[in-house]
């Protein structure tokens, strides 16, 4: 099939695909006709008419758009790294139709006006943006932000991500107050004192490289604190980018006690170990750091057991000058939206069914932030992906739509790809 962008104003017929919508509990072979961006008809053997663009979906899965509950789009303030527009373009090319943006911009998203600014700016973009508001004013960790009004304006969660909330009493207030609004509190869990300016995982590799290590206990002790508070006061805690085996032990302990906790992992913590840093590759420098092979194994097992609920990218674009520095001064983070499915599916495809891998990108994150996408039903605005779970492809720098290209997966062979995404009347064709 030639590479072209289809006109979603016309008629697109998805032929011979398997429709999988976990929200509707549908998993069956069927044709699907999209007309003017809406789902016109779902049934077996829809007759081809001559003005139809026909997409052969044999062997492919038609499913809901992906939802990323953790991304950094950098606007306002750091538009040289990413904008709402370039971030959205990257997102939809990776199969994401909804993205939650973290509030660590400049200014910090800590008022209803700023939440509204993000939502209004995204109206004409190809994805839906669900902002996450700050927990504290200016993410300074001193006083609660206008959480209630931000939720009213459309924020779906609160977080001071990038910075941990160090004040335990404020963490208690945030969890207690959030109960009124039914939204999760997301704390970037790292004890800064234990991080001790560590720039990578403390282990055999940091020992050899002479770099200051950030130990796994910097994360697990903070998660223990947060969960102990949540156990005491209630509220719902969401743990972002879990990185260590010890943290998973802590989470399991509190989950079994009945604490309302959800957990995300990034594709890079799922796929890589600290060996990725062996030649001081700043593109693999992230916070929390990529850890040992034992941690990676625990993470993969926890995704399989369901202890980890979903994949989130922590898409963190940085310009070349932010990354082409000495290791200590290089910024933390990597882009993730365009490679997330290929990386994750490559790791998990022999451990999980393709449906349960897809759930990590669709229904599971939606449950955490309490949203529902446009379902795969007749008369609904089409919001869907066509996935080929077996195709091998290379993540090429030339294909990157993000404004930044900081990723250690560039040049890697990935398995599984979103071949087409239709959302908000846009159609991205990666066939």
């Amino acid at each position: 099939m030639s590479k072209r962008t289809l006109n979603s104003k016309g008629n697109i017929l998805l032929k011979n695909g398997r429709i999988y919508d976990p929200f509707l509990l549908i998993n069956e072979k069927s044709d699907l006709l999209i007309s003017d961006g809406f789902i016109e008809e779902i049934k077996k053997d829809i007759k081809i008419k001559k003005d139809f663009d026909v997409i052969d979906c044999e062997g492919k899965i038609i499913t809901n758009g992906f939802v990323d509950i953790h991304a950094h789009f950098r606007e306002p303030g750091f538009e040289f790294k990413e904008t709402l527009e370039t971030g959205s373009t990257a997102a939809i090319h990776g199969g994401y139709t909804r993205v939650c943006t973290m509030p660590n911009t400049n200014p910090v998203i800590d008022t209803p006006e700023l939440v509204k600014f993000i939502i209004d700016s995204s109206i004409d973009l190809p994805i839906y943006i669900h902002p996450i508001g700050a927990i504290t004013k200016g993410q300074k960790g001193l006083e609660l932000a206008e959480i209630g009004q931000m939720i009213q304006a459309g924020a779906v969660a609160i977080s001071d991500d990038g910075l941990p909330l160090t004040n335990s009493q404020l963490m208690r207030y945030a969890l207690e107050y959030s109960k009124k609004f039914g939204i999760p509190v997301i704390n970037h869990a790292e004890d800064c004192c234990l991080v001790n300016q560590g720039t990578m995982h403390e282990g055999d590799v940091s020992l050899n490289l002479g770099l200051v290590g950030n130990p796994d206990i910097s994360e697990s002790t903070m998660i223990y604190r947060d969960l102990a508070i949540a156990d005491y006061v209630g509220g719902s805690l969401h743990i972002p980018h879990v990185s260590s085996s010890k943290s998973l032990d802590v989470i399991k302990f509190f989950k079994e006690k009945g604490v309302n906790v959800s957990v995300e992992v990034t594709p890079h913590h799922l796929a890589l170990t600290d060996k990725a840093l062996q030649s001081y590759d700043t593109n693999a420098k992230v916070a929390p750091p990529i850890r040992s092979d034992i941690d990676r194994e625990s993470i993969q097992n926890a995704v399989c057991s369901g202890l980890i609920n979903c994949i989130a990218t922590d898409h963190a674009p940085h310009s070349i000058v932010d990354k082409e520095r000495d290791f200590n001064n290089a910024s933390c983070g990597m882009i993730g939206l365009e490679s997330a499915f290929g990386v994750t599916n490559k790791v998990l495809k022999d451990k999980k069914t393709v449906e349960s891998i897809i759930d990590l990108f669709t229904i599971n994150p939606c449950k955490i932030i309490n949203i529902e996408p446009n379902l795969i039903m007749e008369k609904k605005l089409a919001e869907l992906n066509i996935i080929d779970p077996n195709i091998k492809w290379e993540f090429k720098p030339s294909s990157i739509k993000s404004k930044s290209s900081n990723s250690p997966f560039v040049g890697e062979k990935l398995i599984g790809k979103v071949m087409m995404t239709i959302n908000k009347g846009f159609c991205i064709n990666n066939f």
Partner: protein, 310 residues
């Protein structure tokens, strides 16, 4: 002429034992040159070497500069304050600024681990690591090994102790990699919180009692205690450090054994080592300084030279 396989000298972790032997052997030849009335050989005539120092290090810089001049190279010094590094000038920017000078070799000191390796991405001339933070400082370890060989006639089988703030030291890792590669037994001794977690994995043994170390060792390398470590509470006081880890006169007198004492300098007399010890016959600290010039001549010659010398 003798050759080494390495194109750069970034560290001793990855270099072969054979290369280390060659560097030390040639180092002894240059040591003889340094004893001559005319201490200069024309082997790097016309070669331009840049000393790129991102942090102050008077001793290392003087030693490299002297080595370069003794080899008849042209020397350019470029000092960038570490504040300019923090301000965000990238390594690449700095390097491009001096690239136009058509250098043949870069000697670099940088506060951040890995910087010399990163530099190899931007320039295609030999790079000599003159210390990249707490990672490696290979020429220091080479001169230490040369001094050990000078004293004992060998390195293999010797018991070498390293005492001090191993965690923050710029010379400890290179010493460990080099000595173990050359067949020495290495034991490190430090306050437990000033040791890297898992350091035994490098093949060293660990002790917390400096008297045990002295009993065991043929030679000990006494690391400098950096005074800035005391401000952040890592070392309660100099007198407490001296009580438990200082190489004092009384302590050595108690042991009544022959022990060779090394120190990479500069010395904090009365803190990690007593003056009398540092100035005694068992200390080879001044030989280390001279061997430093010789071994750096050797490294530069082996990386850049094309002709024999006599």
């Amino acid at each position: 002429m003798k050759k080494i396989e390495s194109k750069h000298l970034l560290g001793l972790e990855k270099i072969s034992k054979k290369d280390i032997e060659t560097i030390i052997d040639v180092g002894f030849t240059f040591r003889e040159v340094l004893e001559r009335p005319i201490k200069k050989v024309p082997v790097l005539n016309g070669k331009n070497i840049v000393n790129l120092f991102f942090e102050n290090s008077t001793r290392t810089k003087i030693s490299f500069e002297l080595a370069e001049k003794r080899l008849s190279a042209d020397v350019t010094n470029f000092s960038a304050s570490s504040s300019s590094v923090q301000k965000g000038e990238t390594l690449k920017d700095t390097i491009q600024n001096i690239h136009v000078m058509k250098m043949d070799c870069v000697v670099m000191r940088h506060p951040v681990p890995g910087s010399c390796l990163q530099l190899t991405n931007y320039v295609d001339v030999p790079i000599v690591n003159a210390g990249d933070g707490t990672h490696e400082h290979p020429t220091q370890a080479l001169l230490d090994m040369m001094s050990i060989k000078e004293r004992f006639g060998k390195i293999e089988g010797l018991n070498i102790g390293i005492v001090g703030d191993i965690l923050h030291s710029r010379v400890a890792l290179s010493n460990i990699y080099g000595l173990i590669k050359m067949g020495a037994n290495v034991k490190v001794c430090a306050p437990p919180h000033l040791l890297q977690r898992g350091i035994e994995k490098l093949g060293v043994s660990v002790c917390y009692d400096v008297d045990d170390l002295i009993d065991w060792a043929d030679a000990i390398n006494v690391l400098r205690i950096q005074r800035e470590r005391m401000g952040i509470g890592l070392i309660p006081s100099t007198r407490e450090y001296r009580t438990f880890f200082g190489i004092t006169n009384e302590r050595l007198a108690r042991h009544k054994k022959e022990l060779v004492i090394m120190h990479p300098g500069p010395i904090n007399r009365g803190v990690e080592i007593d003056s009398e010890v540092a100035d005694s016959d068992q200390a080879i600290i001044l030989d280390q300084v001279l061997n430093g010039v010789a071994v750096r001549m050797s490294v530069l010659y082996l990386l850049l030279g094309s002709k024999d010398f006599e």
